[in-house]
């Protein structure tokens, strides 16, 4: 209590300097929190889509092999759907789900982030491949549908879709029959249509760009994928696990970048507080000498300096976390409002807040150590006569 009181007194003594230090450290922490929340948002978005999908093997055209994602596949090539009859003869293959994907680049020219991913699918795609999707209203695609669509929540919001409304792709009008609940994933930016309708609209009847496959024996999935790739040279099959691994590798890089960034924020914070505390302690040598003469223990002086440093950094931490949070809200708003990007949003969670506060505590403790140690060990007589 006494320590805190004294520390606060000392900090308010040089108000401007304390505030500048807090702002400096606060900015470093705010940026860390923002960047962490962006990468957390990305990670969750990917996790909710790729990692949750019910497929064991993904088939794409050979040309898309290096990037076996449906959005890439949509641009580079396609393969005939008759191939699926043959693929289903492969021992371990249980079921295949034909998908034709397309990306309407001219969807909303004023909002480039709003370009949806079009998925032409069969009705069983929903329960089997994306079982996590839930309807907010309406229904999923049915067998009898030709030109209908089910829209992700984000795209529905940006394009102001409602049941009974319609969207036009390549001259064909697709009627809105369902709108999905937000899943916090890439699905929020997708539009599902019947397979045939989309193929027709894009003048690619019978062509597929993307095929999720289910197998009987998951332990053999890799061998099966290899067998498919080897047998039909125009396509490439990869296990879902391999894709998740790739994603995990990517996230590992992001994570490492985050650690790097946090470390930089930490160092900046330490430098800020260290220089402030060295100054603060330097102008109080005589006072501290007097305290020691009166009988105040060395340990108390040490704790006092650490407390001052910690209070500074904690205030900066709280301010940094709050402004980082506000910044990420602003980014979310800008992404949605100006780019129509709603299927990815920075995510601030307890872990990120704790990281921000944690950085603050480490900064305060480390930056306080040296000045605290130095001042607490100064010779009393010399300190008393210090001018």
């Amino acid at each position: 209590m006494l320590l805190t009181k004294l520390a606060v007194r000392n900090l308010t003594r040089r108000r401007a300097r304390s505030i500048l230090t807090i702002i400096g450290v606060g900015i470093a922490i705010a940026f860390t929190v923002t960047i962490l929340s962006i990468s957390e948002g990305l990670m969750v978005s990917f996790e909710n889509s790729i990692a949750k999908q019910g497929a064991d093997i993904i088939i794409v055209p050979k040309e898309a092999e290096a990037y076996p994602y449906p959005d890439v596949a949509a641009f580079v090539g396609s393969f005939p759907e008759e191939l699926l009859d043959e693929i289903e003869q492969v021992d371990n293959v249980k079921a295949t789900f034909p998908v034709f994907t397309a990306i309407p680049m001219d969807f909303m020219p004023e909002k480039p982030g709003a370009i949806p991913m079009l998925y032409g699918v069969t009705p069983d795609y929903f329960p089997e491949v994306v079982p996590y999707l839930e309807l907010a209203e309406g229904r999923f695609i049915e067998d009898s549908d030709e030109y209908t669509l089910v829209a992700g929540s984000g795209i529905a919001m940006v394009a102001e879709l409602s049941l009974g409304g319609s969207l036009e792709f390549r001259g064909k009008s697709f009627k809105v029959v369902g709108i999905l609940k937000s899943s916090g994933s890439l699905d929020d930016g997708m539009i599902y249509t019947p397979l045939k309708g989309l193929q027709e609209a894009y003048s690619k009847p019978g062509q597929l760009t993307f095929v999720p496959v289910k197998v009987n024996d998951i332990s053999q999935a890799e061998a099966t994928a290899r067998e498919i790739s080897d047998t039909w040279p125009i396509i490439s099959a990869q296990t879902q696990e391999a894709m998740v691994d790739k994603f995990t590798d990517l996230m590992g890089i992001v994570e490492a970048a985050n650690v790097g960034l946090s470390t930089v924020a930490l160092l900046i914070g330490i430098l800020f507080i260290l220089s402030t505390m060295i100054m603060a302690v330097g102008e109080r040598v005589k006072e501290i000498g007097t305290m020691r003469a009166i009988g105040v223990h060395r340990r108390f002086i040490f704790q006092l300096v650490i407390t001052e440093s910690l209070i500074t950094s904690l205030i900066a931490g709280v301010i940094g976390c709050i402004s980082g949070y506000l910044l990420s809200l602003a980014i979310t708003y800008i992404l949605a409002e100006f780019f129509g990007l709603t299927y990815f949003a920075p995510l601030v969670n307890a872990r990120i807040f704790l990281t921000g506060i944690g950085i603050a505590i480490v900064v305060g403790a480390l930056a306080g150590l040296y000045p605290a140690w130095r001042i607490s060990k100064t010779n009393i007589v010399q300190a008393l006569h210090y001018e």
Partner: protein
């Protein structure tokens, strides 16, 4: 009642400066008994401050011993020395050395906070002291709002806060005008009378020195 508070035996302090040894203190034997008022005068550089620093346990002697109430202080750990200063000694400085962020009252309660005296008692004691020293209407002023004489009286109140056995004052009137010097000197004399607190007063001013019951003179690190 001739209880000895402090006793030094053959106390010496040598400073080495630029390869040269300076004997600041050279075989000091001094006994300070309870309630005694001692003044020390002497030319500049004769070792008065050095002696006071050693008696005040602020630094270590080069030779000889200091006993506090019969205990050899060289055997005490740093924390124990801190406690002796905190509870048994009061320091008064030429430059007052008040805490600039504290009010007069807070300056006086501070040493009692360190000794963990309960708040109520702390405040009561500080107020009584400040009133006794004529500072009743200055309690909530910060040091920069106090005159030199008032500052020194706050410092004296602070030195008395933990009811020490001994006051150590190094030129307490060095920064005061002659009237205030008289006031402070009289005050020290009264405190010595009233509380029976021992005082060692270092001064250049013979008039001030005369307030003491025993006047010592120091020359070249020795007591005459």
């Amino acid at each position: 009642m001739n209880e000895i508070i402090i006793e030094t035996e053959n106390l010496s302090r040598v400073f080495t400066l630029g390869g040269q040894d300076i004997k600041a203190l050279d075989g000091i034997n001094l006994k300070v008994t309870k309630g005694e008022f001692i003044s020390i005068t002497g030319p500049s550089g004769s070792g008065k401050t050095t002696l006071l620093n050693l008696i005040g346990l602020l630094e270590q002697p080069s030779g000889g011993t200091i006993s506090f109430e019969g205990r050899d202080v060289s055997k005490l750990r740093e924390g124990e020395l801190d406690n002796l200063r905190l509870k048994q000694m009061g320091f008064i400085f030429q430059t007052f050395n008040l805490m600039p962020t504290f009010t007069a009252l807070e300056n006086v309660t501070f040493p009692m906070e360190i000794t963990r005296i309960p708040e109520k008692e702390r405040l009561e004691r500080a107020k009584t002291l400040l009133e006794r020293l004529g500072l009743a209407d200055r309690m909530h002023h910060k040091p920069k709002e106090l005159s030199a004489g008032e500052s020194q009286r706050v410092a004296i109140a602070r030195a008395l806060a933990n009811e020490p056995l001994l006051l150590l004052a190094d030129e307490p009137t060095g920064n005061l005008d002659s009237n205030t010097t008289k006031e402070i000197t009289a005050l020290l004399q009264q405190l010595n009378d009233e509380y029976g607190i021992a005082i060692i007063l270092v001064t250049h001013d013979n008039q001030v020195a005369q307030a003491a019951s025993r006047t010592l003179r120091m020359v070249d690190g020795r007591l005459d």
